[in-house]
């Protein structure tokens, strides 16, 4: 693993009018590592994702990508430079087959005489191969995406981002709506993407999902970074406590136990 971060934010703030959404946030991800971004609702996760993905420009602070100071004007620009974001709502068309979804907007073509046609054999085969690399055996690439489980859909989205050359993969709560088993499936793909040398930023509010896959953990609370810990500095229990804001949780526990 290289030591220089692939993507780094230094003291980034984002203001919307008088609202301070992010204040002096610093974080980084290295190639082949998973940075987990933990935060409860309202912690500023969404704003941070959008800033990373090129939707928002930082109000203050600097964004470094591949060692250079960078300003992304649009998500498209960030994507072209290799920063792929898989949003919760996935950008998938449920009624379309897996392979059509996989290549939607970037269809491979071939020439038959003067006519350009969609190279469907290549698309189907590549979809199957790329999914196999993620450890998923597609039953049938012609299946509509709507028939896949939530975890499988996430993995199609991740495989697609990886195939189209993502160097940094930003995953917005990929396990949020999933059951225990499905979440496990997605966590496995996250490690697979990491092993292929991609820098993964994994956003979640669930420390139990973050702990097994993360290399280091950034805790976001009320728009600021509460701490940035590498895996050997922190235990799962400490993560849980910090996430909820330790004191708050103690108070809650006390309150509940006295009522009972």
């Amino acid at each position: 693993m290289s030591d220089a971060p692939l993507l780094e934010l230094k003291k980034v703030s984002k203001y919307f009018g008088s609202v301070i959404a992010l204040q002096d946030v610093s974080m980084f991800v290295r190639a082949g590592e998973v940075t987990c971004l933990l935060g409860d609702n309202g912690a500023g996760k969404s704003t941070l994702i959008k800033t990373l993905a090129g939707v928002h420009l930082p109000s203050e602070g600097t964004y470094y990508y591949e060692g250079e100071e960078t300003l992304f004007e649009s998500p498209r620009e960030a994507l072209n430079r290799g920063i792929a974001t898989v949003y919760q709502d996935l950008a998938m068309v449920p009624l379309m087959s897996i392979w059509r979804n996989f290549f939607l907007g970037s269809e491979p073509t071939k020439k038959i005489g003067p006519i350009t046609v969609y190279d469907q054999a290549f698309a189907k085969q590549t979809t199957r191969e790329e999914m196999a690399k993620m450890g998923i055996d597609i039953r049938d690439p012609d299946q509509p995406v709507g028939t896949l489980s939530g975890g499988e859909r996430q993995s199609v989205a991740i495989a697609r981002a990886v195939f189209f050359g993502a160097k940094v993969l930003i995953l917005d709560e990929p396990t949020a709506a999933l059951g225990v088993k499905q979440a496990g499936v997605v966590l496995r793909y996250i490690t697979q993407a990491r092993d292929r040398g991609i820098g993964v930023i994994f956003i979640t509010h669930n420390p139990h999902h973050a702990f097994p896959v993360g290399d280091h953990f950034v805790i976001l609370r009320r728009g600021t970074v509460m701490g940035d810990f590498s895996k050997d500095e922190v235990s799962r229990e400490e993560l849980v406590r910090m996430m909820a804001g330790g004191a708050d949780l103690d108070a809650l526990e006390h309150e509940l136990s006295t009522r009972a």
């Binding site: 950008a91 907007g105 039953r139 049938d140 028939t147």
Partner: protein, 363 residues
């Protein structure tokens, strides 16, 4: 109609599933066929045909002449329906095409009619070119208005329906005092037009319109576009989830505008075919064809909300429509009943297609 599954013993269930096979299930060719959008229309077509073959066996339903009559009826509707199905799969409606058939027809006739009768006395080629541009402009206008206002295309093109039907009546009335313009065969170049658009092909004594060939050709072309090109993939994607498609770089607005222009060109073609066939134009020509085309597309398995459907299905839908119409005529049933049948078939087809689609999604 589920695939038979051998009863599992408790032991088998506890075993770790042998990797990848656990997830693969044989899907029979029959199940695969049933998961295609146009299969409902195919079944309906066979049922309707057999039904009339039995009911109308004394009236020569199974004959070359009746077959020709059905196909001649189906062709103009089919041309509109296949174009409309693409637009519907992309998630939009075009209710203006029926009016546009009347409007373009009158425009062509006004341009070629002599100035003594209130026309512009233009030669044929510039007339066709100008009216084609006019049709493209209407399609562009519909599409642009829908996309700019973000209003439902149903409303925008419902407006166009009235506007162009009104213009098709008002302009010729103002200039010529008539709402029907005839004698297209006086126009220099009619021989060529008749050969290309009006010819009848005689097979075993029955006359088949050349419009059938246009219909088949356009259907094949659009089937190819939808299923074999990247634009086809975009059409499904845009109709399924326009935002998702836009996020991955599909030019949503350009695509939809182009599809509105495609339906307008289909209306232009039908207008020209019918001018040659009927030797003139009528302000009311194409009335209700916009709804008939939508019915054909929906019967053919196209989802009203977009993202799913078939060009071939729309062509089959038009064929069913024409078959019912012709069947009722030759059976001698009062023509007033036709609409009852069409409405019933539409509702049944949608229910049936929905059931089939849900089955396909569970496969």
């Amino acid at each position: 109609m589920t695939t038979e599954v051998a009863p599992e013993t408790a032991d088998e269930a506890d075993k770790p599933a042998a990797a990848p096979d656990e997830r693969v299930r044989e899907v029979s060719w029959f199940d695969r066929l049933l998961s295609r959008p146009e299969v409902g229309a195919l079944i309906a077509l066979v049922v309707v045909w057999i039904g009339f073959a039995i009911i109308a066996s004394d009236n020569n339903f199974v004959s070359m002449a009746t077959t020709a009559a059905i196909l001649n009826r189906a062709a103009p509707l089919g041309i509109l329906a296949v174009a409309v199905s693409l637009l519907m799969i992309a998630g939009e409606f075009d209710l203006s095409i029926g009016s546009l058939v009347g409007f373009i027809g009158m425009a062509v006739m006004l341009m070629v009619t002599s100035s003594a009768q209130g026309g512009w006395a233009l030669p044929l080629l510039p007339t066709l070119l100008l009216t084609l541009i006019l049709a493209l402009a209407v399609g562009w206008f519909n599409g642009t208005l829908v996309l700019q206002t973000k209003l439902p295309s149903f409303i925008i093109t419902l407006g166009s329906l009235f506007i162009f039907r009104g213009l098709a009546v008002a302009i010729p009335r103002t200039r010529t005092g008539r709402s029907q313009l005839g004698n297209f065969d006086d126009t220099p170049g009619f021989g060529f037009m008749d050969a290309v658009f009006g010819q009848k092909i005689s097979i075993f004594g029955a006359n088949f319109d050349i419009a059938i060939l246009w219909w088949v050709g356009i259907t094949l072309l659009l089937v190819f576009v939808l299923r074999r090109t990247r634009v086809g993939s975009w059409i499904f994607g845009v109709g399924g989830d326009a935002n998702a498609a836009r996020n991955v770089g599909v030019p949503v607005n350009r695509l939809k505008t182009a599809l509105f222009m495609t339906t307008a060109v289909a209306a232009f073609l039908v207008a020209v075919l019918q001018i040659v066939q009927f030797n003139g134009a009528d302000s009311l020509r194409g009335t209700q064809q916009e709804f008939n085309a939508i019915i054909a597309a929906v019967v053919g398995g196209t989802l009203l909300t977009g993202g799913y459907g078939s060009v071939l299905g729309a062509a089959l839908g038009a064929l069913i429509f024409a078959m019912v119409q012709q069947g009722i005529i030759i059976t001698g049933v009062d023509g007033d009943w036709f609409k009852v049948f069409v409405g019933a078939i539409l509702v049944l087809a949608v229910i049936f297609n929905n059931a089939l689609r849900q089955r396909a999604m569970k496969r």
